[in-house]
């Protein structure tokens, strides 16, 4: 997953898309996911990481991540053509 390179996200989860000027408040888990993607992790690794941290099953985590990624895509926070 490729998060837009200039995307700025604060410790509080405040996030600015510098291209569109839109800003968002993201909850702590959302912010964690973005940071993991920014660090270069694939979706599979992010699922594994979060399953371990929060003690949830992989299927639920995958579904929730898929939903969240779609929200990010909708707001052009990740590159739409990225498959992974």
């Amino acid at each position: 997953m490729k998060i837009n390179k200039n995307l700025a996200i604060s410790e509080n989860g405040f996030c600015l898309n510098p291209v569109t000027g839109e800003s968002f408040s993201i909850n702590p888990i959302g912010a964690e996911i973005i940071q993991l993607f920014k660090a270069g992790m694939t979706s599979e690794k992010v699922v594994k990481e979060l399953c371990t941290s929060y003690n949830i099953d992989e299927a639920t985590m995958e579904r929730d991540l898929y939903d969240f990624v779609n929200v990010l895509k909708h707001h052009q926070l990740i590159q739409a053509d990225e498959k992974n």
């Binding site: 200039n6 600015l16 569109t20 000027g21 052009q76």
Partner: protein, 348 residues
């Protein structure tokens, strides 16, 4: 650094609900570390707030309304020049630009320098020429048509799909969802700003703007794109944020290069749901939100003064992204004697 002394006349000192750009232009000039400026406000109304903002404006003179013609304006400027020895005038209002462009040679003889588009550039970018402008310079613009009579709104369905935007020649616009609304806007706007009226296909999306400065040789000296975050009922940005949008900067450079634009300008654009930008308007002067550009590191008013004085100005290449402006209103307390002076003597 030794600061250059300079006297600058600035119009549009009316930071009201539909604000003129004069006060933010003055703030930019005052911020300059190279220039020590004396600012002469040039106003049209006795209640233009800038007249009373003495910390920014050293002295103000009333000007005749643009409708009085260029000769009356020249007479008044000759008087002001005899008192103030202006080096530069920055006209900031659409309605006065024609007269100032026409008077440029006479003002230069008087020692007053300006940095304005040519009459051709000014005319070519008019809202009622936007269709041809877009085709000529390969810039996407919404379909538009110029109309002169209210009856013409009833034939618009042939070429347009409602809603459409009904726009005045200089200012004002309304979104019409049917011919009746279009006719109402036609009457309201034409009564205030005259004919023609421009009909433009409405583009649903987010509004973006670019403030820029061209040197007249095809070089973009400055350009800062902004997204409006809060828009008043008059359609004016009350808050905005600088953004990092390469497409907008490329469009701006293309516009300046193709037209060899001279002076300040503002591009008004709409981004549709598919992410495509449409150029809605080109304002041939600095916009009222220019101080955002100053805050982002591009002092456009200062650069414009230098260009007007014939100095070489290196193009700005960078600006801060994610800087915001938030406008506010503020009540000044003014003594009646000041109002009396500007009303009776025409200067304060």
């Amino acid at each position: 650094m030794k600061r250059t002394k300079i006297t600058v006349g600035v119009t549009g000192i009316n930071p009201i609900d539909s604000p003129g750009p004069g006060i933010p232009v003055i703030r930019g000039i005052r911020d300059s570390v190279e220039m020590e400026s004396r600012i002469i406000g040039l106003s049209y109304e006795s209640l233009d707030p800038g007249i009373y903002m003495h910390e920014l404006v050293d002295k103000t003179y009333q000007l005749p309304y643009p409708s009085a013609g260029a000769d009356r304006l020249l007479d008044r400027l000759e008087y002001i020049q005899s008192k103030e020895h202006l080096d530069v005038i920055i006209p900031n209002l659409d309605a006065e630009l024609y007269s100032f462009i026409k008077l440029e040679p006479q003002l230069k003889q008087m020692g007053i320098h300006m940095c304005l588009p040519t009459l051709f550039q000014f005319e070519e970018r008019h809202k009622f020429h936007l269709d041809e402008f877009g085709k000529k310079y390969d810039i996407p613009v919404p379909k538009s048509k110029t109309i002169y009579a209210p009856e013409e709104v009833y034939g618009l369905e042939k070429d347009f799909m409602y809603p459409v935007v009904i726009k005045g020649k200089f200012y004002d616009a309304g979104i019409a969802h049917n011919p009746e609304q279009a006719r109402t806007y036609f009457n309201k706007i034409s009564a205030k700003w005259g004919l023609p009226i421009i009909v433009q296909q409405f583009v649903m999306g987010n509004e973006y703007n670019v403030v820029g400065l061209g040197d007249g040789k095809g070089n973009t000296i400055a350009a800062v794109p902004m997204r409006k975050q809060f828009i008043t009922d008059k359609g004016k940005a009350w808050a905005g944020i600088s953004i990092d949008e390469k497409i907008l900067l490329d469009m701006t450079r293309k516009f300046v290069k193709a037209t060899k634009w001279k002076g300040g300008f503002e591009l008004e654009l709409m981004k549709d749901a598919n992410g495509k930008y449409f150029l809605l308007e080109i304002n041939p002067r600095i916009p009222a939100w220019v101080y955002l550009a100053v805050g982002c590191g591009q002092n456009i008013p200062e650069a414009l003064v230098k260009l007007a004085m014939g100095k070489k100005v290196e193009p700005y290449t960078d600006y801060a992204i994610g800087k915001m402006f938030v406008r506010y209103s503020y009540d000044m307390i003014v003594d009646i004697s000041e109002f009396e002076k500007i009303t009776t003597l025409g200067e304060l």
